[in-house]
Structures are given as structure tokens and as C-alpha cells.
């Protein structure tokens, strides 16, 4: 049976990482920026799982790392959403362009 080569998966994860980075830099809505960050973290998860399965199938280091990244990303999202709610309370907006009280 033909399997998908590792390079295809790496291409996917790299593309996903930079799509996430592009989203983070261009989007101005905080929720969308948070989603872009999740995209970047998920691409790293794909990396870890793929390396684990293709190159080092004997040990489960990569899989465990991916599990920890998912958990911590959830914690990060929880804190970030709390901050966004507070940002909405003080600024009446979650657009980053409206939060410009401090410059240079």
C-alpha cells in the first residue's frame, strides 16, 4: 500500500503555519487573531505527530508533546478570551486598531 510521504505532510504543516502567521499579521479582530494562533499551534502538532510516526515510531515523545500543546493552547485561549472580554468592557470594541492609547 502506498503511504503519503513525510514531505507532503511537512508541506501541509509549513503552509498551515505561515497561513496562521499571515492571518495574525493582517487580521485586526482579536478573535480572528486568536484563531490564527491556534492554526500555528496545530501545524506544530502535525509536525510532531508526523515526525513521531514516520521517523521515530518506537517512542511516543512526539505524540505526548502534541497532547501537551493542545492542553496548553486551551489554557492560553481561556486567558486570552478573558482578556478580550475585558478589552471589550473598556474599549467597546475588540478591534486592535481601536486599542491605541499607547504609542512609541
Amino acid at each position: 500500500m502506498n503511504t503519503v510521504p513525510l514531505s507532503h505532510i511537512l508541506f501541509l504543516s509549513t503552509a498551515l503555519f505561515f497561513i496562521g502567521m499571515y492571518g495574525l499579521f493582517t487580521r485586526r479582530n482579536m478573535i480572528t487573531m486568536l484563531m490564527a494562533i491556534e492554526l500555528m499551534l496545530n501545524s506544530v502538532n502535525i509536525n510532531f505527530v508526523a515526525f513521531n510516526k514516520y521517523l521515530y515510531p518506537g517512542k511516543l515523545d512526539g505524540l505526548f508533546f502534541a497532547l501537551f500543546i493542545i492542553t496548553i493552547a486551551a489554557a492560553e485561549a481561556a486567558v486570552a478570551i478573558a482578556i478580550i472580554i475585558n478589552l471589550y468592557r473598556t474599549h467597546r470594541s475588540i478591534d486592535v486598531d481601536d486599542a491605541t492609547d499607547m504609542k512609541y
Binding site: 494562533i37 492560553e76 486570552a80 482578556i83 474599549h91 492609547d101
Partner: protein
């Protein structure tokens, strides 16, 4: 065997107990009683003392995931000391705060994360510790709940730190792909300077450069420092930064040791950029918290100069400088924080003729500023001198001269504060402020530390003797 575990792990266990105490204390109480702050100050002192006991024990736990030794214990003790000093200085702010217990919970959780990160023997613990150290801090930055600037600062901090950890994680995933191992001790044996390894190194380094706010990645620093409550700013600029530098040194000197040439070049470029940018922006600041933010960026540049030395001296000088930095920066933040919570004044112009009514505060701030600038009798001079000496050991004298000349530039903006305090006689100045016992004790310890740690050679000797030879 069990006692060994407890004793090696004692600093983390102490912090975990403190966290349990705070959670239980918080149960069923709408707002903390007035005695919480003195209790916390005593408990943090106890925490520091527990860290100082058995200081020379070393060993590994959890199959090598956790390791400790004399140097790591010393680094943790520096962080413990800084947290104790900050806790005493925060007295004025937390006294009226409804959520004082939560502020402590967040700051101590973050400290626990830093301890795990410092002791990590495996990339997983390093990453978990790093996130544990930064996520609570973003929440703590938001603790001036009704302030617009505070929530803006927290938003900037969480986005930039999440981006930095994504870069770091991509680097770690490539490291795993290249070597097949996540153990810090195993990785260096399998690294060779191939392009993909260099790319990986750059990713990991940028992740940490974000956290220590070295220059291309410094943009979040000033905004976060200005928006956060002063105690949190002090924590960010001293404790968080010191922990990140300690870990960066360990990573560069052990994990990325095979890439010494590349990382030296990166360090030279980044340190010069950091010093020059930090100085140029500090020149034009009016808000004193922003001013201290840019001055701390410039200080990070000098630390990177020291790291680029790649020797036992370099390692020791970085740790010594951070000890001195704890004292000098916390003295400055202590005075600034007290004036800010009592009068709400935060610009340099407000400090005009501070000396008229507040003689002690003025002298302490002046000594702190001299120490940050690096004027001889204070410890800051010795700190910077050792850093530049360590950097010069590579023989790149042009680089060291540019760094040293930048110290002259930095005198200009540091002395602006001295001029405001002492030499603007026309102004009436801030009315006399009385200092309660805790902030006063903290400021005296900082002043003593600034004067003593430079003049007592044994401190540097001790740090040198326990630093790993390269």
C-alpha cells in the same frame, strides 16, 4: 530516597504550598483581610530561606526530567529574592485592591513555571514551564481592571507571547525531527551545522528573544510596561526577564553548543541593535515607566554582549549582572511605584525637585539610576564591566567599543532624571510622602544590595566558582 525527593524539590513544593494556602484563603471571602499582605511577606521570606538551605544539593528527579544543582538553586534564589522585594513594594497598591489574593496567585504560579523551566532536563518540561510562566502574567497585567491601558497591554502581551511560543514550538518540533530526542542532554551530540539546524536555532532563539525583548522583537515591551500596574511591571522587567535569560544561557551553552559560531554572530548583531535601539528610544520618553522599559531593553543588550563571550566568565558575569539588576531596577521601580500609587504622577517632569520634600526617596532613586547607568561605586558598574570583559574575550574589540560607547549615550538619559530630582529649583515638587514599613524595608535592602554586591568580591567569586566551565 523520599526525603531526597522532597529536599531537591523543596522550592517548588514551597511555592505549591503557598498557592494552596492562597486558594483556601480565598474561599468564602469577598475581599482579603488587611493581614493578608504581611502574612504573604513573611511567607515569601520563609520561601527564600527554605531555598537557601541545602543550597549545594544536586541531583535529578523523575527519570531526569527535573534536574537541580548549586547554580540552578542560586538562580531560583535570585528570583525568590526579587519576588519577595516586589511583594513588599506592592503593599501600597494591594492594600486597597479587592483581588490581592489573586494577584499573588498569578504571580506565584508564574514563578513556579519559571522554576520548572530552569530545572528542566527535557523539552516538554521546558515548554510547559515557559507557558506556565507567561500565561498567568498576561492575566496579571490586566489587573488594573477598569483601566483602558491595562487591558490594552494585556491584549498585546498575550498575542505576542503566543506568537513567540508558536515560533519556539516550531523550532522544537524541527529539533525533534532532526535528532529524534527531546532530552536537553542528548540533543547537542546529534546536532551539526546544517541549514535546517540553523533554521531551527533561529526559530528557538527568536522565541526567547521575544520573551527577553531583544530588539527586532521588543515592540510589545514598552506598551505592556506602561499599561500594567507598577508591581506587575517590576515583576515582568526583573523576575520574568531574569528567568528567561537564565534559560537562554543554558540553551545556548548546552543544547546549541555545536552552533557556537552562528550563535555568536547572531548575538553580536542582536546585542548591538538592542543597545542602540533601546538607547535611542529611551532618549525621548516622558513617561517614567516607558523610560524604564526602554532602559531595560538596553540592559538586555548588554547581557547579550556578555553571553556572546561563551566562557565560564561569561556565564558568571551574566548571573552577577542579573543579581545587581534585581537590586537596581527594583529600587527604581519601588520609588516610581510608590509615587505613582500615592499621587498618580508618572512623567519625568512630575519628578522635578522631588528632593525638596522627599530626601530619602530621592537619594534611593538617584543611587538606583547611577547603578543602572553603571557609575563606579555602585554595583551596576561592576556588572557592566564584567559583561564587557566577558564579551571582549572573543577578541572582537570594535564590537565591545561600540557597546561601551553606548554606555556614554545612556548616561545622558539617566542623568535627566537626576537633573529633574535635584536641579530644577523653581518647581514646588511632590509633597512629602510617608513610607510604611514594608516598602521601606524593601527599598533599604535594594540600596544595601546595590552598594554591597559590587564592593564584596566574594559574591562574584562564588558565582564564578559554581558556573560551568565551557
Amino acid at each position: 530516597m523520599l526525603t531526597d525527593t522532597f529536599l531537591l524539590f523543596r522550592q517548588e513544593i514551597m511555592l505549591a504550598l503557598l498557592l494552596f494556602f492562597l486558594v483556601l484563603y480565598k474561599l468564602g471571602r469577598a475581599r482579603p483581610a488587611a493581614h493578608l499582605l504581611p502574612i504573604m511577606n513573611w511567607l515569601l521570606l520563609l520561601n527564600l530561606v527554605v531555598g537557601l538551605l541545602f543550597y549545594d544539593w544536586q541531583g535529578v528527579l523523575f527519570n531526569g526530567m527535573y534536574r537541580t544543582g548549586e547554580l540552578i538553586v542560586l538562580e531560583k534564589n535570585i528570583l525568590n529574592l526579587a519576588v519577595w522585594l516586589i511583594s513588599m513594594q506592592a503593599y501600597g497598591w494591594l492594600r486597597q485592591h479587592r483581588h490581592a489574593a489573586e494577584v499573588y496567585l498569578l504571580l506565584l504560579t508564574s514563578l513556579l513555571g519559571m522554576f520548572l523551566m530552569l530545572s528542566s532536563g527535557h523539552m516538554l518540561i521546558l515548554y510547559v514551564g515557559l507557558e506556565m510562566a507567561t500565561i498567568p502574567l498576561a492575566a496579571a497585567v490586566n489587573f488594573a481592571l477598569s483601566s483602558k491601558r491595562s487591558s490594552e497591554a494585556a491584549m498585546k502581551m498575550i498575542v505576542s507571547s503566543a506568537f513567540a511560543s508558536a515560533l519556539l514550538l516550531l523550532g522544537i518540533s524541527f529539533l525533534y525531527g532532526i535528532t529524534g530526542s527531546l532530552w536537553l542532554a542528548e540533543i547537542p551530540g546529534m546536532l551539526h551545522a546544517t541549514p535546517v539546524v540553523l533554521f531551527t536555532f533561529l526559530l528557538v532563539f527568536s522565541g526567547f528573544a521575544f520573551k527577553v525583548s531583544a530588539v527586532p522583537f521588543h515592540l510589545w515591551t514598552a506598551d505592556v510596561y506602561e499599561g500594567a500596574p507598577v508591581a506587575v511591571t517590576a515583576y515582568l522587567s526583573v523576575v520574568s526577564k531574569a528567568a528567561m535569560v537564565f534559560v537562554l544561557v543554558t540553551l545556548l551553552y548546552s543544547v546549541f553548543a555545536p552552533l557556537e559560531k552562528t550563535s555568536h554572530a547572531v548575538l553580536v548583531v542582536l546585542s548591538l541593535l538592542t543597545i542602540i535601539t533601546g538607547n535611542l528610544f529611551a532618549l525621548r520618553q516622558q513617561n517614567i515607566k516607558r523610560f524604564l522599559a526602554f532602559s531595560s531593553i538596553a540592559q538586555i543588550g548588554f547581557i547579550l554582549v556578555g553571553i556572546s563571550g561563551y566562557s565560564q566568565t561569561a556565564n558568571a558575569s551574566v548571573i552577577f549582572f542579573l543579581l545587581v539588576y534585581v537590586f537596581s531596577n527594583l529600587a527604581a521601580f519601588g520609588v516610581v511605584g510608590w509615587i505613582s500609587t500615592q499621587t498618580g504622577k508618572e512623567t519625568i517632569a512630575d519628578y522635578a525637585n522631588l528632593y525638596r520634600h522627599n530626601k530619602t526617596l530621592s537619594w534611593i532613586l538617584a543611587i538606583a539610576v547611577f547603578s543602572l547607568a553603571g557609575v563606579p561605586p555602585t554595583a551596576g558598574f561592576f556588572g557592566k564591566f564584567f559583561l564587557l570583559t566577558a564579551g571582549a574575550s572573543k577578541g572582537d574589540y570594535l564590537f565591545i567599543s561600540v557597546a561601551a560607547l553606548n554606555m556614554v549615550v545612556s548616561f545622558y538619559y539617566y542623568l535627566r532624571i537626576i537633573k529633574a530630582i535635584f536641579m530644577e529649583p523653581g518647581e514646588t515638587g511632590i509633597a512629602a510622602l510617608s513610607l510604611p514599613f514594608w516598602p521601606q524595608l524593601s527599598l533599604w535592602i535594594c540600596t544595601g544590595g546595590m552598594l554591597a554586591s559590587g564592593l564584596l568580591g566574594v559574591i562574584y567569586q562564588y558565582i564564578y566558582s559554581i558556573s560551568p566551565s565551557h
